[in-house]
Amino acid sequence: MNPFFDFLLAFIPRAVVQGTPLLYGSVGEILTEKSGNLNLGIPGIMYAGAISSVIGGFFYNQHIVETGGVMSPALAVLIPFLSCLAGSLLMGLLYCFLTVTLRANQNVTGLAMTTFGVGIGNFFGGSLIKLSGSDLPSISLAEISKYFHAPLPFAKDLGWFGELFFSYGFMVYLAIFVAIVASWVLKRTRAGLHLRSVGENPATADAAGISVTRYKYFATCIGSMIAGLGGMYYVLDYASGSWSNNAFGDRGWLAIALVIFAIWRPGLGIPASFLFGGLYILHMYIPTGTNLAVKEIYKMAPYVVTLVVLILTSLRNKRENQPPEHLGLPYFREER
C-alpha cells in the first residue's frame, strides 16, 4: 500500500480519539446554548466529570484489590459512568441555580465554574494520589480502562476497514450516537422546538406557555452531563485510566470553540470534532526536523482555525447560522 494511505490509517484513528472528548463537550454546550445559557464553565464541568469517574473507579478498584475478588465488567463501566454523570449534574445544577434562579451574570458564573471545576479535580486528584501511595504523581486505573478501551470484537477481522471504523472504545460510538440524537431532538421534536424558542426569544416562549426556567435547567443539566462524559472518556479510554492533575489541558475551551465552528448543529459537530482532533495532533505527524519552534507553530493550528471560523461566521450571512438571539442574557418575565 502506498505511504499516504498508511499515514491516513495511522492519523485518522488518532484524530478520532482526540476529537471524541471535544465532541462530548461541544454537543453538551450546544444543547446548553440552545436554551440561551452561555455556559463557559464547560472546561470545569468536563474536568469535574473526569475526576468524578476516577473517584468512582478508584474506590471500586480498591474494593476489588482489598477483597481479592474479580472485577465485574458491568460494574467497572457503570460505577465510573454514573459517578461522572452525578458529578457533572451537580455542576450543571449549580450553574443553573446561579444564572437562572438568581440571574447572576452568565459569563462570570461560567468562568468561576471553570476555575472551580479544575480546582475540585486537582484537589481530589491529589488526595487520591496520596491514598494510592503511588510514587508517581498519577493514579492508574488500567484494569477499569480495559473495558472502556476494548475495540469492537469484529474489528480485527476487517483489516484496514476495521482499523478505521471499529477499533475504538464504546464511548466513541456513544458520542456519535448522542450527537445524532441531540440533532434529531432539536430539529424534529416538540421539546426541541420549545428549547430553541427559549434560547431565541424567551418572552415569546413564555407567552406561549413554555416554562423557560424548566427548559433552561433541563438543557443545561443534560448538556453538562454530556460534557462530563467527555472528561471521563479522556481519562478512562484515551489516557488508559491514568489520571494526573492538569493533563486534560485546554480541551474544554476547544469544545466551546467547536460550538461556533459547528454553527450550533450537533450533527455538524461530529466531523468538526474529528477535524479539530486531527488539528490538535497535527504537529506530531508533520516532520519538522530538530527545530522545536516549528512544532510549536503547528500546535497553534486548532486555535488559528477557531479564530478564522469566528471571523467567517461573524460575517453575517444567514440568520439561521447566528447564535441563539437571547444567548447569555437572563430572563425575567416582569422586567420592564
Binding site: 424534529r188 416538540r190 416562549a205 413564555d206 406561549a208 406557555g209
Partner: protein, 508 residues
Amino acid sequence: MSETIPAVSLRGITKTFGPVKANDHVDLDVYRGEILALLGENGSGKTTLMNMLSGIYFPDEGTIAIDGRPVVIDSPHTAMQLGIGMIHQHFKLVDVFTAAENVALGMPGKLDLKETARRIREICAQYGFDVDPNQKVYEMSVSEKQTVEIVKVLYRGADILILDEPTAVLTPQEAQKLFNVLHAMRCDGKAIVIITHKMHEVLAISDRVAVLRKGSYVGETRTSQTSVSDMTTRMVGHSVKLDIERKKPKNPEPRIEVSHLSVRSAEGVLKLNDVSFTANSGEILGIAGIAGSGQKELLEAIAGLQRVESGSITYCSPSGAREELIGKSPLEISRLGVGLSFVPEDRLGMGLVGSMSVTDNMMLRTYRSGHTAFTRRRQPRDIAKHVVDDLQVATPSLRTQVQQLSGGNVQKVLVGREITSAPTVLLTAYAVRGLDINSSYVIYDLLNRQKESGVAVIYVGEDLDVLIQLADRILVLCGGEVSGIVKGTKAKKKELGLMMTHVGGERI
C-alpha cells in the same frame, strides 16, 4: 347587555411597579360578540391590565372571572387554556422559525408541522388571511407578522382576543383588512378587546368604549353615543384642542438638499434607491411609507450614521454656506445643528440609557460642553425639568431611572430632549409612536413651534391623518424609492396609501 354574563369580568384589579401604581382598583367587563375599545393615555395602565388577563403579570389585588366563574391566571399557559389570546404590540414571534413553527410553539402533543400547516391554511380560508406556513418570520412584512400572531391565537382556540395597538404599524389598506377580520370574528361570537390611540378607528370599529385614566377606571359608553372630543376629555380629565394648526411656511429656503442618494445595508440589500428631495427651513417635510421602506436609513444617512453608496447630501446653513454632509462624522454634523430623534420600536434602543436617570440622559447631549473633567448636573437638570413640565412626563422624580417609566413617558423624554436642543434641522421618526392623543398633540405643537422659529423639520410618521394635517409637504417612500412628493393641503389618505405600496401610486 346587562342580562348576559360577561366573557371577562375584572373586579378591583390593582398592580404596582415599585412606587408606580399602574392599575388602581380597575373594574371592567367584556362581552361576547362585541368589540371593546380600551382607551387611555400613555401610562394609564391599559397594557398592564391586559397583560394580567393574559398571564404575563400577576395582579396584586382583585379578582378575574371568565364566563362568571372566578379564575386565577398565574401564567400565559393558564390564560391560553381559558381561551384568552393576546396579540402584543411587540410581536411575540421567534424570527428564525417558520410561521408553522411559531404557531406550534407551546402546544401539547407530538410535533407534526404538516398537520399544523394544514390547519393554518384552514383558519386562513375561514377568515380570509394570507399566510404561507413555511415562510420564515424574519422574511415577513410587519402586517404578515401580525397575521401570524392572530392565526396563532385562533389556532389555540382563543375566543377572547386582546389586540394591543394592532394598527400602529399598518398601512390604511392593511388596517382596513384587519378590521374586516375583526368584524368576522365578532360575528363568530368572540369577545374582542382592542387598545388603540387612533380615535377614528375607535369610532369605526368598536361597539363599546372603556376609558382608563392614570391607572383608574373612568367609565364606559357605547361607541354610538360618544364623540372624539368626549372620549379625549374622559381620557385626559380636561378638554383638549384637537386641531393641528398649520401656518404657512415663512420665507422657506433650502436647508438640506439630498440628491440621487443610494444606501445599501450591511447584508447588501438596497435600502434607498436614487432618492432626491429638498427640505426647507420653516417647513415640516413629512415622510410616509410602510415600516422598513428606508425611512430609518434616510434619516441616518443625513445624521452621518449610515454609510452611503452614492449621491450627495448638502447642508445649506442660514448664512448661505454650503457643506457636504457625506463623509462627516455624526458629531460634526450635529455641531452644524442637525439633530436626530429616532424613536425605535423598542424605544430604549436608540438615544436613551435605560438604567440612567432622566437628568443624566439629558446630559448625554450636553456633557461635551463642559470645560473640566467633572460633570455639572445643573444645566441638564434644568433641561430635564423643562421637558418633564412641558410634555407632562409622568415620573416620580428627575432621579428616576428611565427604564422604570412607561413606554410613552420614555418617549417623551427622548423626543423632548432632541427638540429642546434647538437645532436648525430636526430629524424625527415616529415621534408619537404609541403616544396617547394628548401627548401627541403636545409634540405636534412643539414641532410646529420649531417650524415657526425657522427650523427645517423632517418628520417620519405612521399616522397618515396626522401627516396630512401637520406636514407642509409629504414625501412618500416605497421600497426605498421616492414614490412622490405631495402638498399637505392637497394630500388624500387613499392616494398616499396607494403610493406607499406602488411607486407613483397609479398601478393598482
